[in-house]
Symmetry: none
């Protein structure tokens, strides 16, 4: 508490520590505000003044945290992408067959789409970024795409998913999910989780292999697939 307190010993460091923390907090505050505005009004209609104003600071102050407007945009995007990368890693390293993983991925991705940082991923235009950052974004998008395709291909291979073109199927699924970022409103009738589980169910409904190979993995939901072998 007093000058002798242990903390005081670190004092030469503390200011740095706490300053850095303060700085990071402000940085994040800027990003949160920016995401909100970018989503509400669109990147090009939002001026740095708008962002600053909503934060009760002045425009040049923003340059203490970011080097340019498009860097802010990029960081907004990165915030959302980070989460996606995390749950992809988690699912990827987790258990379950391909279909199960796909379901988990859909669920997680759908939920993410209902958040600001998730919507950023599909509503921001990468062409507003530096060439360099565009590459990063494209790589990330490809990563996501490949994950979807991999689960689909794996599923077809292990029999949990009906034969299909993984590429096209991935596009179909991704489209449905990305679209959430455009229509979902926090004020709407559905909770994020509800939407996510419905999508997980619905989007895999047509894919699940009702008549899996003998003892194939899965034996999905429906017992007695009935005769109607689909169409």
């Amino acid at each position: 508490m007093d000058a002798q307190s242990p903390e005081t010993n670190l004092s030469p460091w503390m200011p740095f520590e706490s300053r850095r923390r303060a700085r990071d907090e402000k940085r994040e505050a800027v990003l949160r505000t920016a995401v909100r505005l970018f989503l509400e009004q669109g990147y090009h209609r939002v001026t740095l003044n708008d962002v600053a104003e909503r934060l009760n600071i002045t425009k040049p102050a923003l340059y203490n945290y970011f080097r340019s407007k498009d860097e802010i945009l990029f960081e907004c995007w990165a915030l959302g992408q980070e989460i996606v990368d995390e749950f992809i890693a988690e699912i990827d390293n987790g258990g379950g067959n391909a279909l199960a993983k796909l379901r988990k991925l859909i669920q997680a991705y759908a939920e993410q789409m209902t958040t600001d940082s998730g919507a950023s991923l599909v509503r921001f235009d990468a062409r507003d970024l530096t060439a360099e950052n565009q590459k990063i974004v494209r790589a990330a998008k490809k990563r996501i795409d490949r994950t979807f395709r991999k689960y689909l291909a794996d599923g077809v291979a292990d029999g949990s998913i009906k034969p299909c073109d993984p590429k096209l199927a991935a596009f179909a699924i991704a489209g449905s999910l990305n679209w959430i970022g455009h229509w979902y409103q926090r004020a709407g009738a559905w909770s994020a989780e509800a939407v996510a589980s419905r999508f997980a169910a619905q989007l895999t409904e047509g894919l699940a292999n009702d008549r899996p190979s003998k003892r194939g993995p899965g034996t999905p939901k429906k017992s007695r697939p009935a005769k109607g072998g689909r169409k």
Copy 2:
């Protein structure tokens, strides 16, 4: 047939006719060029100079055909919407049960998404338009959405489609389709028709009612809820 041909009689009007035709052709040329550029680079990165340059005219010449940049954007959009409205009307008035209609709609909409004018519908940002035009766009989008929902609801009612939430299902389908406007490249591996029919098949795969009620449609959801009653 010779110099005295009937057309020659109309010659006094020809200049008008042909001028008007020329005008309309130029207007359309402007729109085609604009759509292309807007899709390639994004509305805000395209200047009217860019558009004019690619047409080998000067910027102010554009104002002979349009009153403002956002009017051009709107007309680009309208071009695509017109087509959608047309095939919706056609399908709506055509035959087939709800599921069949839904398939036709998906097919047509998917094909449209592979064209420039179709992609316009989902890649342009309505907020770049006049408040008035925004209303028109919103109304059109609602029209499309309602059509999807109607077919789904009708299908559930007539038994051709498995019980499901039409609103959510419509979102899922629309998302998949709209997404085409973002990834489809004319240079890609698939033809527009191929993509469209695959989507029509895949997107309805999970919806089609495998075990329709004995005597044709018309014993919708209610009777014998059965176990499969989703949720």
Copy 3:
């Protein structure tokens, strides 16, 4: 009417004659319309399109009658100036002492100010004209000014007007009169003539010499109203 009619004899000329007349009429129509618009909205806010539109012709058609927008402005002004020059000449050559002439001038000028072509003289900005035309305008304005001063000086000399600075008095009078061009509305309560005679009376009221030298001219208003009681 037929080939033998007297007019036919002149036929080689007639077309010219009538054409010229038609041309002049159109020219004047343009000017009338232009004056109106320039007064209503101000020269810079009126486009040649506005002028053409109100005449039900097209913009380039105007160039058949005038070489430029500022030429139109100049001709509008000239129309009004012509009238002023005329009545100045008339008054100048007419009879009466200096005070009488001054009154006549005020009356005529005031009336002119209530017309469109009169208002043009004081509401158009000469700086919108060619350097050359500006000179013409300045010369005309000087002409008017000199006339006022001359009558004043003459009046002081012949005793009909009280001693005063002719320059300043001319400015005062001209100001009052020019101002009419700004406030007078044809729809107002006063007729042009009424305004004019009131101004003629009022503006000379303070100038008329009540105690003229011996038998000087004018024994205005006060003592023994006499016959000269102005109208």
Copy 4:
């Protein structure tokens, strides 16, 4: 007085104070420059570049102080109007009969007309302003007009002014005065005060009641005018 003077105590605020002062000074500098240019060349011929150039700044810098070109025009006008409103209030609350007040008003107004800010009042075109600001200008003009009329009417009532139509007389006087704003040149032969007093004398010469009724001023329309003329 010395470095420790009270002002020094406020030093922490000085930066703010001085900045604000600097800002205001610059704002006024812009206005002074703008008025000058607008009067010299006319509002439409002056570009913001011209204004900026003469101030040795760049065009967009002007937008730190004003929101638009027409706002600058309005503020120029307001600068002049403020002065008028002030001396009107002063005269109105001051002593003297109506004729005396009228003289004071004429004198002050005439002097004002010889300044840039005074000339602005009559040489700027209100139609260049926002609809909203046009209203303000019109209201101010009406205010001035009413003051002239009131003094005239009061003077007629209290007998200090000869019977006359206050409306018309006000127009005549205002015209003379406003005209000063068009012809007066600082480089000319007359000082502002000289012009003003001559005008005050001359314009009221014809109005002053030479032979007021024996007892008490005028026996105009109102029977028993009493001394308490009006108000």
